[in-house]
Symmetry: C2
DNA sequence: AAATTCATTGAACGTTCGTTGAATATTAGC
DNA sequence: GCTAATATTCAACGAACGTTCAATGAATTT
């Protein structure tokens, strides 16, 4: 009994926390059950007892915070109100989706930071991205709906593609891999939440608006004729 | 000698191809050397003979196509010419960076598709993203330079953050994990390169322009006074 | 054709892997 | 305080892991 450190919290929770941190650092296959149980100060057999198997542990880690995130995203999306012109503000819609992450990525949220780093890997993995579909897409559908309402006349496919670009940027940004820091010679810091907060929604809202404008160049009613091939940028 | 299938190509190349495909599907830690050598029809010892160890194989897989991509990206970036107003077209700059991927992601490029799926995982991994830094950032710096030239008066940090958003969207998009297909009920197809080609540059160019406009609202010369906190979107 | 280098094979190394079952400790219900 | 359910420990299983080495085959050089 040298390495065991049984705190007051139950072993089941310690396992979830340790798994979250280690999965985020080295990926699902890069961490063994023994790595996790050792870090949690628990016995190897407890993973299979509490979660069935290693994959069940990953699933539980994944859904634990997804429920919290989904609830708040829905609340914020429902709270987005039309402006004086009767239109929904695109940046406000994007922020309803993004700010719940900002709030939890601060100093106190070490567990949340690990969770976001894990999400980034899951989102970009062919074999694990089904977890994104299962645990997030119901709320994403709601997000798509509100985005569509904020983009009258836009082709629905533009909204889906725009969301796809957004989620790629979002998950990488909150993963905080440190690449931006190195690339910019420490001019930019992944951990600088203010920098993300002031830039993300303007960038994405402008992207969505550009797609909508491209599909229906002038008026929202000229939608049926926008079926031709788009002209593309250059070359 | 039942499972060995020695084609005309050398075992070293067969190993690279098999490793590329399997790493892309299941991740670096999710694939064993025996998985790779079996798929390549080669002996287990050949990985260590040709590449030193498993990590050396990953490095070689990664740099093999990076060199090709870097060369073409540099050529295209150098070929971007100012328009009649003397300014560089933002979409043209983005396309110089993105189109080399489009060209290789078509029907014939099965190996390239695997490679892009691998890049997405490496880019989002804390322990592997150093490979991105090492093999891509020299060319990314050139990309940043040209972007900055196309965004006169913009804060350099905006350009870096914009690139960060862009690379997150780009790597996820070309990973083709299938999540967009499921999310949209098959309305959008990850493999539809035309859909990517017509949307990516407009979306990103508008994002960059919005960041630049936010930092220097009117004229490029009003740069030194833009040090205050930005107003953010909503909430 | 002999010598030398390079590529491949087969077998084995010690270690770690995920998982299991029986035994023990702890908690909760009555 | 006894009982029953839950939680944790301990030891072990067979399989798979990355790596190594001596032996063999093939290709190149002299």
């Amino acid at each position: 009994m040298a390495t065991k450190k049984k705190t007051g919290r139950p072993a089941k929770e310690r396992l979830l926390d340790a798994a979250e941190r280690l999965f985020a650092q080295r990926g699902y296959h890069g961490v063994s059950i023994r790595d996790i149980t050792e870090a949690a100060g628990a016995d190897v057999a407890l993973v299979n007892y509490h979660f069935g198997n290693k994959r069940g542990l990953l699933t539980r880690v994944f859904e634990r915070r997804a429920e919290i995130l989904n609830r708040e995203r829905l609340e914020r999306l429902a709270a987005v109100r039309p402006g004086p012109d009767g239109r929904l503000d695109l940046e406000a819609v994007v922020n309803a989706f993004m700010e719940p992450l900002i709030l939890r990525s601060g100093r106190g949220g070490r567990g949340w930071k690990s969770y976001f780093a894990l999400i980034a890997q899951v989102n970009n993995s062919p074999e694990l991205s089904v977890l994104m579909t299962r645990h997030f897409d119901p709320v994403v559908h709601k997000f798509i709906d509100v985005l569509t309402a904020a983009l009258p006349g836009a082709d629905l496919r533009d909204v889906y593609w725009g969301y796809h670009f957004l989620t790629g940027a979002l998950t990488l940004t909150f993963a905080e891999t440190g690449r931006l820091d190195k690339l910019s010679g420490r001019l930019c810091r992944s951990s600088d939440l203010d920098s993300v907060h002031t830039r993300f929604a303007p960038f994405m809202a402008a992207g969505f608006a550009a797609l909508a404008a491209r599909g229906a160049p002038v008026a929202p009613l000229a939608k049926a004729r926008a079926r031709r091939k788009a002209p593309a940028g250059a070359n």
